[in-house]
Structures are given as structure tokens and as C-alpha cells.
Symmetry: C2
Subunit: 186 residues, 2 copies
DNA sequence: GTATGATATGTGCGTAGTTATATATGCCTG
DNA sequence: CAGGCATATATAACTACGCACATATCATAC
């Protein structure tokens, strides 16, 4: 279960509530790991049971109380253990490639539409990396205590850029081959 | 559930047993979709219930009987419907990137080891694509009835090559930056 | 003869993740 | 002052998937 370790890593920067964690996911690691709220709350409960976290309840009159989670010594140890272990290799699952593989049974226009959809999503991601994510990292890098982390965040950003660039290029090449077929051997 | 549609696509080439399907997965789409045997058998049962498949039991004295599945009219319709629908976008999950993101908390040698591990796996994949997969596709392309399909299989192979190439390059760049840190700002 | 691997079928249990739903408040906009 | 959005907590039901186990035969290698 990597989700608990992702949470361990994030809470290690600073304590947070489940709701805040979701927001942190959204603006940092959600490009390569994400979770929805129910899952986060349940995982926080599990981690509490294992002694990786401790919780401080902030009672606020009338409003629902906040539960601020922070990493315990055992949690920090578990984080270090997990970081040192060789990363799991999840089986790849790509529905678009599946549809391309069986592409002979789709009419060309529809398949081309699928490819353009993926192309556009990754072109938008590339723009977002430049406009939003890169400046965000630079901003954090300027803060005391985060300079060391920012170097690693940049590595993951670099991966994102290379991946999306590659997807855009491949989609273009595939579109050219599918469309080009009409004149070619078709 | 894309697995049932992957199976639909494969059985549409030719009828097969669950065991045979597993082998077909292994030498075709397992680079972007895979399943283990229990999952395949269970899914075949579900698909049978939905009327997408029909089964012919081959009794063989003594030995366990073979169940050969083939796609029904409803199954072919469902396959076409699914192929035309915009592909689902699965949330990305990459444990290695997660570890790189939190890389400041790992010692450099360990993180470098993780990166070399990924690099090597994809370098091996690249070699396998050239030596094994590309010739296999060319072989099928020569067969009557499969020439049209082979063009699409090649597109997915092209994706695999670009992806693995990209991973190797990124790992090299990341390793250089992590190792280079020692002289640099470290 | 005995062990291993390929062929062939599954069940049972556990984990991870998604969607729908329930509850409650504060704040801002129209 | 009504509606929607952000904050904040969760449970229930469901789906997908993976691992361990159970069973049976044949062919081949040692």
C-alpha cells in the first residue's frame, strides 16, 4: 500500500488534516499518485492503528472538529524503510493503447479522435508544467528548509515533461500514419 | 472493467480457452494490459453471464476438459461500442517517482540504485522489442488476414520504444544530477 | 521411478480503490 | 435571503485485482 507511504512523506513536511492532505496531493504528487477523500480518511485511520501517526483534535464550537495528523517516530522509521526498499513495479494498464491495438476494428475517424484527445491532454499538461508547476517549485525552493527538497521535486517535473512530450510526439506520428494510410496502401 | 474488453478483442481474432488467453496476453498486449489466470477465468464467467461469449466444452477422457470461448453477436457489438467510446483515463501511479519526490530523505546511493534499476529494466525492454516483438509482428503481418491488424500493433510497439527510451534518458539525467550534486552545491 | 514443467480448471480471502451518500458550518455572490 | 462553494468529517456498497491454494493429467528429463 503506497498510499500510506505517500501520506507519511507529505505529513513529514508538516502535520495536516485529511482534507488538507487532499489539497496537498492535488498541487504536488497528484501527477504520479493520487487518492480521493474517503480513501485518505480510511488510510489515516489504518496508519493511526499501526502507530505511524498521532492525532491532535482541534475542537471548534459548533463546527466539526479538525483532526490534525502528524508522524510518530515509528512512522518516520517506516517512511525511511519504505524509501530504501526497491520500488514496486505496478503492471502497466493503458486503455488507449488497448484501443489502438484493436484499432483495425474502429473506423479511422474515431480512432484519430481518441489519439487527438490524448495528445491535447498532454499538450495542456506541458503548458501547465511551465505556467504553474515550475514556478510553484521555484517559489518553494526559495523558502528556507525546502531548497534541498526542491531539487528532487524538479526531477519528477522533468519526468512529467519528458513523458507528455513523448506522448504528444507519438500521437502525432500515429495520427500521420493512420491518416496517411488513405493515400498509401490503405 | 477493461479486462473483459481486452479479452473480447483477443477472442475476436480467434476462439481460445482461458489458459490459452493467458499465453496470448503474455506475447501481445501484456506490455500495456495484463491479467493473471484466476482473474481471466472469473472474467470469462462474467462475460458468459452477460451473453458476450459462448463456450464449447471439449471433453477429453480422463484429462480435464477444455472450455473454448468465442465471441457472440452481442459480444462483437459490445466490443465495437467500447472501442468507439473515449478511453478511460486511469489515475497515474508511479512508486518510483514517489520515492524520487521524497528523495531528500534517502541516501544518494540508495536512490541512485532505484534509478539504475528502472533504467536497466527499460534498457532490457528496448532490446526485447527489437529482438523479439518486432520480428513477431512482422511474422504475423506476413500471414493472410493479419496484415491490417499488424499496422496497429506496430503503433503500440512504437509507443513502447519511445516510452522506454524516454525512461532510460530521464534516469541517466537524474543520476547525473544526483551524482553531480557532490561537487556542485551539494 | 521421480521430479519438474506445461496444460487445464477453478475457489477463497484479502487489499486497494471508486462512487454514492450523510452531516454540518462559514463565506461569498447574485 | 437563496444558492453554491469551500471546509471538514466520515460510512456503505461495490468493483477490480492479486496471492495462496486445490485438483488433475501428460510429457520430459534425470
Amino acid at each position: 500500500m503506497s498510499l500510506s507511504h505517500a501520506i507519511l512523506g507529505l505529513l513529514n513536511y508538516r502535520p495536516a488534516t485529511g482534507y488538507e492532505l487532499k489539497a496537498v496531493f492535488e498541487r504536488s504528487i497528484h501527477f504520479f499518485w493520487n487518492a480521493n477523500l474517503p480513501q485518505i480518511y480510511r488510510t489515516l485511520g489504518d496508519m493511526l492503528d499501526r502507530g505511524w501517526l498521532e492525532v491532535k483534535v482541534e475542537h471548534r464550537d459548533g463546527r466539526p472538529s479538525r483532526k490534525v495528523y502528524s508522524v510518530t517516530g515509528a512512522g518516520r522509521e517506516e517512511l525511511r524503510r519504505w524509501l530504501a526498499a526497491p520500488p514496486e513495479v505496478p503492471p502497466p494498464r493503458n486503455p488507449l493503447l488497448l484501443k489502438v491495438f484493436f484499432g483495425r476494428q474502429i473506423d479511422r475517424a474515431t480512432l484519430a479522435g481518441h489519439l487527438r484527445g490524448w495528445r491535447d491532454r498532454h499538450a495542456a499538461l506541458l503548458a501547465r508544467y511551465d505556467r504553474e508547476i515550475a514556478p510553484l517549485i521555484r517559489q518553494y525552493a526559495a523558502l528556507a528548509g525546502a531548497e534541498g527538497d526542491a531539487r528532487y521535486w524538479e526531477l519528477t517535473l522533468d519526468f512529467g515533461r519528458r513523458f507528455s512530450r513523448m506522448v504528444v510526439d507519438w500521437c502525432d506520428a500515429a495520427l500521420a500514419r493512420i491518416t496517411g494510410e488513405e493515400q498509401g496502401r490503405g
